[in-house]
Symmetry: none
DNA sequence: GATGAATGAGAATTCATTCAT
DNA sequence: AATGAATGAATTCTCATTCAT
């Protein structure tokens, strides 16, 4: 079993990356040990040198996702930023990340794929909920500072922002990654800013 | 092959309902002919008297979803409603529907599940995009009438609304359908109303 | 069980004919109750009103073949014909028959198709061997009258004649029944005549 | 997919041999993956490590048959042989081969068995037609040299010879391989020789 | 580390046959 | 007579996993 704290070997990283892109390209049903081994150029048996089971590989994938939480927290804790700036950089950080790793973007928004295993399922929900929570806490901060509208529900606003991100990313994927995701992110931000800011 | 226009027999409806709730409860991987037959109390072979293949059943499921499009259009075309009222009834209609058919709600927001088959995949994307488009067209209407903020992107707003709906429904499911979805819908509407309305 | 002596009903005949042409067109693997019923426009269950089992249908097919034995015997016993004339009319009778019922021709030469069931297997071998025997007895007759070469083996000659017939018919079928089988039969007869006749 | 040019592994050869004898003993309907695996003492799944599909196995069988073409061509090209000698050695070579591999003999003459798949069907027809053509070309050679009767049709003669071979082999099989096929071959040759040779 | 053969469980599907209506 | 639903066995094939080399 790959412990979360354990550093991954090069081979393990390679396998996880291959698994992610396999899912991103063709869906979870194509993530078979055979396809995975084929993609890397290993035999099927060899995979088991590096992961004790397929489930273990899926865990590895989700651990990878979890790592990106660190970036979020860094932003959240930059005290020199206003809530508005925080919100913006958070959003842009996410879109940058997804543009850089489209395969991960495809997979991270497909929670349902992991429904089979209880542990995996709660794992990915954690990740999604954490992202929402980060947004919510910034919004609350902004509301308490009086720069964001106080009458709206921060929780709902969190849902709206992460939901919109998901829709944008998945449509981007559906369109074959054919345009700049960053620009979509800027458009999203513009609208959020207008919506959320308290009239001064 | 089950034609879209064909009326389904009772058995076919029964099978599709069983399939939807199987997916909702345990995920698409549990949708096997064996489980399906077991759930209904039939032999595996018997399923094939009613659907020519498993794919055909999945088509049947998606057709069921598509039918709910009709409700949306009915609202869209109620000319005596203001855009604001339209938006509200649309939202509530959806939440009512999902509360009534939680299994469908679980499945309809899991586009990725159908990625295996190209036809199914585009089918479900159609359904999702259609819902977004309906929201967008109402928002545009409201903007042109000057009652919704003109500076925001209607498309983005559509993404935010459907995205929020999805997040709410999935969290509701994740929490075991333990509270009223309707109330969540009302909360969502309250926030949307505040955000979108032009200050008079 | 359909007794051999029993007269077939119209429906039974219809079913057997459909079965034969199904085999002729697409091979024995396509002879399923479903296909058969579909070809006639009946339900699958209905077939069992007329035959107690699929095996029974196959028996019916072979009985049909067996009936054509009668024609052969009639020729064999025409005492006013010389062995040479008998041989010729026998040959032509067969080619006429096959040209008229190409489906039967396709099937009767495919003994192997019936290998599954011991009874059917010996049945069809009977038919084939009977045909060979008829040829052999005529050849022997001709040899004893001194008009056919005495040094050749009548049995081998029988093999050669029926074997050639089979090859001609199957190639004819392979070529899509696109030319006259009768002409091929004449060519065959011309060669046989030359080969077999004693120089006078 | 097993390429024709690819050397087969030991296991592949073993599987193909088992398949051929299974067909020979009990007919094509008994050639199931289960029976095949059972005969070799493997699990069903294991078969698929060596052949990608059942069709692939059937291709393998036919490739085996095709290889015996080489022997025929070798005889055809022995320039020091007279047409008469060529014909004789060809015939004997075939009977030797069939006596050595009775299973193959059973199968090679059952073209109809492979009718299911278009490719297989044309494949086996190729093999049969090739054998006929080899006989025809030798007969034509003999006719042009004036040692075979010129008035007979070489094509028909080819049909007669291969047809007789088939009848002899299948009767031999039907009789449980209980006598020497070689002797039958000699009898056939004696008759052919008498029939075909020009009186000097 | 890596390979390749093997396994056993399970998947979708087909088929002959039965039976209530 | 005929239908339509149902069954149970069989079939091809896939997959995660194991293990000797």
């Amino acid at each position: 079993m790959v412990k979360e704290t354990t550093k991954l070997t090069d081979r393990q990283r390679e396998i996880i990356e291959a698994a992610i892109s396999l899912i991103a390209e063709k869906g979870i049903q194509e993530l078979t040990i055979k396809n995975l081994a084929g993609k890397i150029g290993l035999s099927e048996g060899a995979i088991y040198r590096h992961f004790s089971s397929k489930l273990d590989i899926l865990h590895g994938i989700l651990s990878t996702f979890k790592k990106s939480k660190v970036n979020l927290l860094a932003i959240l804790n930059k005290n020199n930023l206003t809530p508005c700036e925080k919100l913006k950089s958070l959003l842009f950080e996410r879109f940058d990340y997804f543009e850089k790793y489209p395969a991960i973007a495809s997979v991270i928004f497909s929670e349902e794929l992991f429904r089979n295993d209880a542990e995996l399922s709660s794992y990915i929900h954690d990740i999604m909920f954490f992202m929402q929570d980060v947004f919510v806490s910034i919004i609350l901060e902004g509301q308490s500072e009086g720069i964001f509208k106080r009458e709206i529900s921060a929780k709902i606003m969190g849902y709206m922002i992460t939901g919109a991100m998901r829709n944008i990313v998945l449509r981007w994927k559906h369109d074959g990654f054919s345009y700049s995701l960053k620009k979509e992110g800027e458009e999203l931000w513009k609208t959020i800013e207008i919506l959320i800011k308290e009239e001064s």
